[in-house]
């Protein structure tokens, strides 16, 4: 996994709460057996009409967000199914950071496994960010090391578990880390069987 330390990018605002994984990537695209290539299906039903033409009423189709790499969403982002295809699609589309007032647990965890940084910030702050990004080209810098998000005028800090932080900073392969505890797993199995 690619390490993620610091990232500066354009914000795509998604002012909706309870964005569920069925919205992030509809199930007809879950049949693939690869990890790559899901970005084209991100928010598919919101982005495209039935005949495949882009919908003008969905702002991700607006060229001003073409370069966006930070997604700011609403409460309970990523609720619903456990499909990791959701973070795969988000990442494959080009997002590195997702900011929301709250996340669904499984989605939040899945992000870290794929080098995406999910950040929880108070709703008053995310609302402000969404407004800015709707109005004009709005850039944010995320500094994971120091746990802050900043724009031109201010800086807010965020919480993150140190375990998650280290995983992203170092781009760890979690399984390799766990395999260093193999002996303890053996002992546990002997004790309980």
């Amino acid at each position: 996994m690619e390490p993620l330390r610091k990232h500066t990018g354009l914000v795509f605002p998604l002012n909706r709460s309870n964005v569920d994984t069925d919205q992030i990537i509809p199930k007809q695209f879950l049949k693939r057996i690869e990890r790559q290539g899901f970005g084209q299906f991100l928010f598919f039903n919101w982005r495209f009409h039935d005949d495949g033409t882009p919908r003008e009423d969905f702002s991700l189709n607006d060229s001003k967000y073409d370069e966006a790499s930070v997604l700011v969403g609403g409460e309970n982002f990523g609720c619903g199914s456990s499909r990791e295809h959701a973070p795969w699609a988000i990442q494959d589309y080009g997002f590195k950071v997702v900011i929301a007032p709250s996340f669904a647990d499984i989605f939040y965890n899945n992000c870290f496994k794929n080098g995406i940084l999910p950040i929880e910030l108070p709703k008053s702050v995310t609302d402000q960010m969404i407004k800015e990004a709707e109005d004009h080209q709005y850039e944010l810098t995320v500094d994971l090391e120091n746990q802050v998000v900043r724009d031109d005028s201010r800086e807010v800090s965020f919480d993150i578990q140190s375990y998650h932080k280290e995983m992203l900073l170092n781009g760890w392969d979690e399984i390799a880390v766990t395999l260093t505890y193999q002996e303890k797993i053996d002992q546990f199995e002997q004790k309980t069987s």
């Binding site: 879950l30 619903g80 499909r83 647990d105 499984i106 375990y163 766990t178 395999l179 546990f188």
Partner: protein, 472 residues
């Protein structure tokens, strides 16, 4: 005497492989269930790194999400077929038991686990599917995981997990006649919202929960994820033990009695405390129907679609407006005036034998309303066989329902069982998200009895007016 503990803490403590300040715990996983959709990339990951499956015998696979429920001998969808073949090859390569599409044990992963007795109290159970919480009905700690975690469990039989907070949902009193476990869980989510469980494991307690059968308990625990919870469970009791007696993968004879005593000792101790407790009164609950696009958007069947005009920002007025528009409804519309075109009885929430029996009771001797397509999809091939032995298939078929083979089917519409855009479905599944049952499809979540009644009347009706539900 030691501090009273909840079942959640007991199971957690028993499964810690490693703990260290500032880190999640490394938790041992007793049972890993896998299916065709969320596993291929995990096996591929193992192969790329030359890793093995640590405990194939603790892993069990089936095919459920995208399998056709009709004409199973020829699978037309090439991509689905590839996914099924991939699972088969992976199970062969890594030595994992598989109930494939032609196997008599095949079915929805959360239906067959309990049916085979793989699901047992006190176990940690994971699956790459969010409704793994279903298994919590047995007093197991069961939760959904992503594909990277599937790979992690395959390789290490363990997971890094932060200790969850505990949340008691206490259901006092008794459920009324014609009010089901589905109505109970919908009412809980309707009352407390789709986020109240975030970061928590829920334990359901109280008189109404104790009175539920195992199948009803599974319906309740199944939808814990719809409340945002990591898992939901119910302490084991006699009901749990009697359900498991004689199941294929539980011990027999005296060993069973010993194991059962261990199971019972896992129940939360009297006086154990939770991080939070919420209470709801069962006797106030009525049959529920969802009108919107998340499961908290529900009201009693005698109620109306809400009016966003009278709501505040806090109540997610915009979300409600969007939902009403998506659903093609009007504010203040009577629920009983909503017509349905499709009825789906199935899914890991409500596709077990007792669900089908209760629906059949309503349907017996009647006819599906003109213009309604109604399908019954048993949760497993075993359920199907049992139902046929009791003649339920005949009741449904005579009434004009379709009778299918087991799978997830119209719950998520990955196979051909799709609700067309703009059409409306009364569904016994667990998610009414936009597009869940097909692009543009409009889903109303209900109990099997309510779905059956909607099929007969072509609109939502209060199932309590059917005499046969009285006393049941």
């Amino acid at each position: 005497m030691s501090q009273p503990k909840t079942i959640i803490e007991k199971i957690w403590d028993q499964h810690i492989v490693h703990e260290e300040e500032g880190k999640p715990n490394l938790l041992y996983i007793d049972l890993h269930l896998i299916h065709e959709v969320t596993s291929p990339q995990a096996f591929e990951g193992l192969r790329m790194k030359g890793r093995k499956v640590r405990r194939p015998e603790r892993t069990y696979a089936t095919m459920d999400h995208n399998v056709p429920t009709l004409h199973r001998n020829v699978i037309k969808d090439a991509v689905s077929k590839k996914q099924m073949e991939t699972l088969k090859e992976n199970c062969e390569e890594f030595g994992i038991r598989l109930a494939d599409i032609h196997h008599p044990d095949q079915g929805i992963v959360h239906v067959i686990g309990p049916e085979l007795g793989l699901t047992q109290p006190g176990k940690t159970i994971v699956c790459g599917d969010s409704h793994t919480s279903t298994h919590g009905a047995f007093g197991a700690l069961a939760f959904g995981i992503g594909t990277s975690e599937v790979e992690h469990v395959l390789a290490t039989q363990s997971l890094w997990q932060a200790k969850p907070k505990t949340l008691e949902v206490k259901v006092e009193g008794k459920l009324g006649t014609g009010v089901t476990a589905k109505d109970l869980i919908l009412a809980i989510i309707g009352k407390f919202g789709v986020r109240f469980g975030t970061g928590h494991v829920i334990e359901y307690t109280g008189e109404a929960v104790r009175n539920l059968t195992m199948e009803e308990r599974m319906t309740v625990c199944n939808m814990s994820i719809e409340a945002g919870a990591r898992a939901g469970l119910i302490s084991p009791d006699e009901t749990t033990v009697e359900y498991l007696r004689g199941k294929r993968y539980v011990p027999e004879g005296e060993a069973f009695e010993e194991t059962a005593a261990e199971w019972m000792s896992l129940a939360s101790d009297p006086g154990a405390t939770y991080d939070q407790t919420l209470t709801i009164h069962a006797n106030e609950i009525e049959p529920q129907v969802t009108w919107g696009t998340n499961p908290s958007h529900c009201v009693p069947v005698g109620g109306k679609v809400p009016d966003p005009q009278v709501m505040s920002e806090e109540d997610d007025r915009d979300g409600v407006e969007r939902a009403i528009e998506y659903m093609g409804l009007e504010a203040n519309q009577d629920i009983e005036s909503i017509p349905v075109e499709h009825v789906f009885i199935g899914s890991c929430t409500n596709s077990r034998l007792s669900d089908l029996k209760k629906a059949a009771e309503i349907v017996r001797g009647a006819k599906v309303h003109e213009g309604v397509r109604a399908i019954v999809v048993p949760g497993s091939q075993t359920v199907k066989k049992q139902a046929e032995a009791e003649g339920l298939d005949t009741i449904f078929l005579t009434a004009g329902f379709e009778w299918r083979d087991a799978g997830c089917s119209m719950c998520l519409a990955m196979n051909d069982d799709i609700v067309p855009p703009g059409e409306r479905c009364a569904s016994t599944s667990n998610r009414n998200f936009e597009g869940r049952q097909g692009n543009g499809a409009r889903t109303h979540l209900v109990s099997p009895e309510m779905a059956a009644a909607a099929a007969l009347e072509g609109r939502f009706v209060d199932v309590r007016k059917y005499a046969s539900t009285v006393g049941g």
